[in-house]
Symmetry: C2
Subunit: 600 residues, 2 copies
């Protein structure tokens, strides 16, 4: 009897899809999608992060990959509900291939697949030691050669990097490197994470003192140890630093503090890197097979060049170097830029008694923190979401299930709502001369983040200081040069300054590669981040996924990891599994690895 419930209909489609997958029938697989359907795969079928758009791309991918991936099962998760609204039926699936198990999320429209997300969650025979598989700890019985846990840890720490080589070297030990290091540890992949700071968490501690996370706690959990229920909604930077430090310790990372990478060369013949690092002043040569840059998705600091920077008598700092307001009470400060860091720094300087001017050179997207939480994030990442059974792991999957090509369609209505909700606020900013935008297609903050990683401020109070004139605003005027005593605008006005802060953002992550490996390898892998949306700072053609992040690059053995806490939590899963598969010699046929369109 035909089951005409939404669940029944979805189950029937899923069953047909399973049959086609198992039969490795690429043509039927693609026909089960809408003509304009999407299949986003995270390492389960493509050994890549890839969105196939439309039946042709899906058929091509399936034809290439199914014979190698050998799908085994694909089924609705019996423990999860099926949703049905506005002609779309959606639900959770589980899947198995020859070498792995995974989870997926499917949306059905008009009887066919509209969107499909498939993700790899574990490798068969290499499952993480969790829950029933957790280690015993105490080794019962007796063994005259027994080493205690501490002795083993010490022995590993003494040998790894010296007499034993790590399989993976992660450069950069902020939240990204730490989350990835924790996953690789759980997967038993010998890994060293290096960082130039003296202690894990210093990446946060060293920032300006008023800094708090701009994303709420529900969005920020690390893998394995979620923040406790009393954790602040927006955690102060030092508290984040302390958490990262304890996490590094209790997750037993091999983390080399006070260590800087000096050079890296890839030996194609041996298939390994030669990386020279300085560890607490001593040179150590490491030979990992895989090298991960987790140096911050923001890449290297962008400091604009102006005539007169050499004659200016005051201080000049990039925002990443700014220590906070304490030394600047009563001083005149010009902050160049109008994004997150610029606003935070201006507000803290004003609170600290400085005379602050913000110079806005181009329009900025502003969204109030409350509105962002309530209108945009709350459905997936909030106390209410948790109460509704949407854990952050589930939220990550739902979020990932929306193809980037159409993601803005989800976001535009949210920002339309925010424009109404906060109309008086936006008008007051514009009356002050502040240049506003909501992104090239009015899709707001997260799309800007994905496309260019900049161009916005999540308002936690600084806008009121701009509106009431406490923070002076200069907008829409170019900067001509610096004088000995200040910043001279294009119209000749001089802004006197004791300090100029360049809150002018960051370059592409492959800039780190240029410095450490070579400009040639940096160009070979090309620009990092962005979707190819043909919007400002994200040139086309369309890529469909973020460039070079968490997936194979054009340089063998070279990987990029980064992003906010949400991304580094979620995507570290797929990056760690890609590395683990290579470590174990499991075949990883990569689909759709292409040369870059942009160098930086």
């Amino acid at each position: 009897m035909l089951d005409t419930t939404p669940r029944g209909a979805l189950a029937a489609l899923v069953a047909d899809f399973e049959s086609a997958l198992v039969a490795q029938d690429a043509s039927t697989v693609s026909e089960l999608f809408l003509e304009t359907g999407f299949w986003r795969d995270l390492a389960a079928f493509t050994w890549n992060l890839k969105t196939c758009e439309g039946r042709d791309q899906i058929a091509a991918m399936a034809a290439a990959q199914l014979p190698q991936i050998v799908p085994k099962t694909f089924a609705l998760d019996p423990g999860e509900e099926v949703g049905h609204a506005d002609g779309v039926t959606e639900g959770w699936v589980t899947l198995e291939t020859a070498t792995g198990r995974g989870v997926g999320y499917i949306r059905m429209k008009e009887g066919r697949i509209w969107t499909l997300l498939t993700t790899l969650h574990e490798l068969k025979g290499h499952e993480e030691p969790r829950k029933l598989k957790r280690p015993m700890g105490a080794e019962h019985g007796h063994d005259p050669n027994r080493q205690s846990w501490t002795e083993k840890r010490i022995s590993e720490a003494e040998s790894l990097g010296y007499t034993e080589q790590p399989y993976v070297l992660v450069i950069g030990g902020g939240q990204g490197g730490i989350a990835l290091g924790a996953r690789l540890r759980q997967l038993s992949v010998p890994t060293i994470v290096i960082d130039k700071h003296p202690r894990p968490g210093d990446q946060w501690r060293n920032r300006y003192k008023s800094l708090c996370l701009h994303d709420p706690v529900w969005y920020d959990h690390l893998p394995y140890i979620p923040f406790p229920d009393n954790w602040p909604v927006f955690a102060p930077k030092d508290k984040v630093g302390d958490w990262l430090e304890m996490y590094t310790k209790v997750m037993e990372l091999n983390y080399w503090s006070s260590t800087e990478a000096k050079s890296a060369t890839y030996d194609e013949a041996k298939g390994e890197w030669r990386v020279v690092v300085m560890r607490e002043g001593q040179e150590v040569v490491l030979r990992p097979r895989q090298l991960v840059f987790a140096t911050g998705m923001s890449g290297k600091a962008n400091v604009p060049r102006f005539e007169g920077q050499d004659i200016f008598r005051g201080e000049q700092q990039h925002s990443s170097q700014h220590p906070g307001p304490d030394a600047y009470r009563g001083k005149k400060v010009v902050v160049i830029g109008a994004n997150n860091s610029a606003h935070d720094i201006c507000a803290a300087l004003w609170e600290g008694g400085a005379d602050v001017t913000m110079v806005q050179r181009s329009s900025t997207h502003i969204v109030k923190s409350d509105s962002l939480m309530e209108v945009c994030l709350g459905g997936l990442y909030s106390e209410q979401a948790v109460a509704n059974g949407i854990s952050h792991d589930k939220a990550d999957m739902i979020f990932a299930s929306i193809p980037y090509r159409i993601m803005h369609e989800w976001h535009v209505p949210q920002y339309d709502e925010i424009k109404v909700r906060d109309a008086a606020f936006y008008k007051a900013l514009e009356d002050r001369g502040f240049l506003l935008d909501f992104g090239a297609d009015e899709s707001g903050l997260f799309m800007k983040y994905l496309r260019r990683g900049s161009g916005y401020y999540i308002d936690v109070g600084a806008c009121d200081l701009v509106i009431d004139g406490s923070i002076k605003l200069v907008s829409g005027k170019g900067i001509a040069r610096l004088s000995e005593t200040g910043v001279v605008l294009a119209d000749g006005t001089e802004l006197p300054a004791d300090l100029v802060v360049y809150a002018t953002g960051y370059g592409s992550m492959n800039g780190w590669v240029a410095d450490l490996v070579s400009p040639e390898v940096a160009d070979k892998v090309g620009k990092c981040w962005g979707l190819g949306s043909a919007t400002p700072k994200d040139p086309g053609p369309w890529e469909g996924e973020q460039r070079n992040m968490w997936k194979p690059t054009m340089q063998e053995g070279l990987w990029f990891h980064g992003g906010n806490l949400h991304q580094s939590r979620h995507y570290s899963r797929y990056l760690s599994l890609q590395l683990k598969a290579r470590y174990e010699g499991i075949a990883t046929p990569v689909w759709g690895l292409d040369a870059p369109h942009h160098l930086n």
Copy 2:
């Protein structure tokens, strides 16, 4: 219409009970219990930890307390299932009084209450800042006098204990002091935890190197931050130490390391203590109103006196001082005692190449770790229990709902099963001469733990070494004296020794009070721990609860906290709420505080 389902019947009884409570009708309250019913209350009705046994005690307590406590509601928790088996119907209740909210667990037999557990979970108006009430972290808006989180923490650390006095001083910063300190922190009660070691966790790190927790991970979680899913079943001591250290930091305890209490005096007139402590070599005088001893429920080390201890030429150590086997390869060691520490130390010494003899002076209860997990603990504390929806918080409540008077009836059948299951193992031990017992009433390990805190070994391998003779065993022979070269038994046999380890246990916690406050105050509060079961080392009369633990004592402002990780997690909740109520000036009429029957 009469609801004759188990849930309906239990709901009817609960409704009658609620009516009687709200009417403050002690007589009806008591009549709703079986003649032999039990009401165990943890701070909700008695501001004490108290089990009322039988209708008379219940009526007396209710008559005294209900007018002061003013019950408001008492109802079945609509979100929880009701169980029904063997004539007993049971389920979860929620309750509210004039000042607090709580949770309970009820068992109904023959239409009346057989057992009732009531517990205080929060004080109205003083709820913990969790989930929806969690702090914001970032203070949105702007404030020229804003202090960052770090500045506030530094300022608090500099003033507390110097210009500001703590309300509570906790002496001892092991798992007990730390768990209590975390709860008091969440309740905003100004608290200092002091500990003599240089770092939190050193209490564990400094023990013998093979030490692992003998209780499994599901039983050992701290409040607020549970261990992650990859945590070992039996965590090695240094890993526990590291966890405690990070926990102390991220839970923001005011924890004074390298600090020892030198003396404490209670000023009855002022209602405060004067406690002299040495903090990193500097004397500091603290004036807390509440003083908590969390110095280890095991109390001070018991070192037996033998003739010849002064002439023995080798080393002598209490088990708490033993560093592990490394220095004793090829040496002869006599370990006096046959409980947990003795077995662990003997096994580690044998593994380390020492010649080890265990001297068993009286019988010991032995249970294999696997059997303990599978037969006794698994239903409440295991991966399976978690999968069944029994979180450790729920398990704590179910465990606490069984009155101590009849708890052995639950345990005896489990140990009957274990005797059969491990019959060959026990026979092999007895064949070797090992003296076995299962407790005075065959109720096994946990009752021994509650009654005397000693007299058992959870076997994780040492027994095989006893059985095969690797660890030499001398049992049932008294010790006459030490010679210059060894231990001389009552029959004249001499056991040559380079090292004698006294694994001879610990005294009562009030011994710490005798040293720090005065012998008079130690006698005033009397013996700690034990139930008054009239079994060895737990003299009657029956007390019904553990003596002096986590509840008011005969000395105003003096409290004891301790126990294993399970107890220190669970009972720190009630102790912290008792302290918080006093801090806030909420009336705390204590029912049933009596003079002690035993001094130590």
